[in-house]
Symmetry: C2
Subunit: 356 residues, 2 copies
């Protein structure tokens, strides 16, 4: 992945298309502003599409980036690292939460093995883009060698291209799986925002006080190694493979002018990396939900994104992103399928300037 090329190829969503969409939405047969966040979402979709979307985003896919984290050896999670591979097995077998939610959303689920510790075998929905068998322990040293960052980002490109070839999509939802990855994400969010770790850290899968103390200590050690807090320093020191690779996926989606639905805290950390590489990429990002994990709100604020849902989720896997997909279809259908007052022959408000 040539970062200069991709940075140059990513153009912010079209403000003229956004303004035209807003104008049309204000004339549809409903009080001005009465569909709230769905209207904002439709405006964003139109800006991304460069006009009224040509479809209702029914072609969609879910991509779960999976990777292991050396820091898991320090006991920062309630689950042992082999659970990463076991959960991936569940995604592929179709009995995980994301499997259930994906069936509601009529979206195929792909898993990109960006760096799982255990061998995963083969499966039609599994993408072998593995760049290593788990990162180094961020409590001790750089999780990813700095020289490898381009290679990890390129794994994201490969995954994006492969999903697009197998299941062409108009919107892509992202998720992740990796025991220990809230530790990595917390370090990333703290590093990008400058917020104290205490304000970002959470209990992830549900850890006790002792593990929480270990998690904080590991993050503090990684932060202490940072000097200039550039994206590449942060990505290298904190990892993980799936987070950095998902940043690559986000950049690809932005380059292709395809909206990308972010799941929770971990994917938000990936978006922070993508946004640091190419700020315009964030215009293609839709925050599906606000996670129960406290650092997610910090990350969303830094990203300048407002989440659509607030369902106290803290699972990951893309579960929140999958739940948001029907909202995207509804927003597109609103602007595509509703008529204006004039088109419909419905009497308009008798107030020129309705308070909205």
């Amino acid at each position: 992945m040539d970062l200069g090329d991709i940075r140059a190829a990513i153009v912010a969503p079209d403000p003229a298309a956004a303004a035209a969409a807003r104008e049309r939405i204000d004339q549809l047969t409903k009080p001005v502003g009465s569909l709230g966040r769905i209207e904002d979402l439709a405006v964003q979709l139109a800006a991304i599409a460069g006009g009224t979307p040509a479809h209702a985003y029914e072609r969609r896919a879910i991509l779960i980036g999976a990777g292991d984290h050396g820091v898991a050896a320090d006991g920062v999670s309630a689950y042992p690292p082999e659970v990463t591979a076991q959960m991936v097995g569940g995604f592929l077998a179709g009995f995980a939460a994301i499997s259930a939610f994906a069936r509601t959303a009529h979206a195929p689920v792909f898993v990109a093995n960006f760096g799982v510790r255990e061998p995963l075998g083969t499966h039609p929905q599994l993408l072998d883009v593995n760049v290593g068998y788990g990162t180094a322990n961020l409590a001790k040293r750089a999780a990813i060698k700095h020289a490898d960052l381009g290679y990890v980002l390129a794994a994201g490109t490969a995954a994006f291209d492969e999903v697009r070839e197998r299941a062409p999509f108009d919107v892509l939802a992202l998720g992740e799986m990796g025991i220990g990855n809230t530790t990595s994400a917390t370090a990333i969010v703290a590093a990008f925002t400058g917020k104290p770790v205490q304000n970002v850290v959470g209990r992830g899968t549900g850890i006790d006080d002792e593990r929480l103390a270990r998690k904080i200590a590991a993050i503090e050690r990684a932060l202490a190694r940072c000097n200039d807090f550039t994206w590449d320093e942060i990505a290298s020191e904190m990892g993980g493979y799936e987070i950095v690779a998902l940043a690559g996926v986000i950049l690809c989606a932005a380059r292709a002018r395809i909206p990308v639905v972010l799941d929770g805290f971990i994917v938000a950390a990936a978006a922070l990396i993508a946004g640091a590489i190419a700020p315009a990429a964030l215009g293609y990002c839709i925050a599906a939900h606000r996670s129960h994990e406290p650092g997610h709100a910090v990350a969303l604020e830094a990203l300048g994104l407002r989440p659509l849902l607030d369902l106290e989720l803290r699972l990951g896997e893309g579960s929140g992103a999958a739940l948001a997909l029907p909202l995207i279809e509804s927003a597109a259908r609103m602007i595509r399928e509703m008529k204006t007052f004039a088109e419909a022959g419905v009497a308009t408000s008798d107030q020129e300037t309705a308070t909205v």
Copy 2:
């Protein structure tokens, strides 16, 4: 509708089924509690079903109750009363917001003409259960004659039965249309909760200060006529036909042990009436969203319901209820289709008592 009979026939959702559902959900391959509100929703669905739901609520329908309000003559809305019939025309023609959202939700839309002022003609999706051509002006006198309340509730029963016959459903989403009906709903919510009108009233379709003052004055006059604030006094004084009839629909759904998805402020007012008639009926209600209309939060609190979505909607039509339908499917799929750690052979948390 014999109210004694229906009250006796409505049994609260099954607490043993709820407890069994919670126990199973806690063993699924995810950290305990990590699907937040979706877990709560699945527990409610299981309690309603009396066990794990036998389906994923893919058979669904949307029922929009429509009616006109005499108080509209006082200029309490930004739109003239003929817009009720015009909007109903849009619902049936398929170019309204609810039409677009219903296509996403794969749900047919039915409109029950409970009391629209204008003639509506015939249409396969239009139910003729009209009990009058708009209510009386609640600012001056009882909106509905007390003796007619049973007749209006029975119109709700007729609509429920007709939709169920035409499009058998496992979940029913409710919406409404009626110029002036936020005035009626505000009066109902203020009457049931005892809250000052100022704390409940909003700008509905988007009215200016002058109309808002007229709206408040009308509501205050209706409230001043109430003596004992029983459900029947409130329903009679405040109306409207669609609100009281939708209360009848909610009672029917509860009697049939079918979950019913409430849209916004107006449907919440209907639920307050239903709950006053048969408190157990509220166990079958799912609050789709928190509307931008300020009185909705007041009503939801009185109903003891937590909304799923908060998208700053204030349109009505069932738009928010339609957006929530996929969440119900996802919750049902979670409990039906996910495996437990034991079933899946995934390592469990190494903490006996994970902090959640």
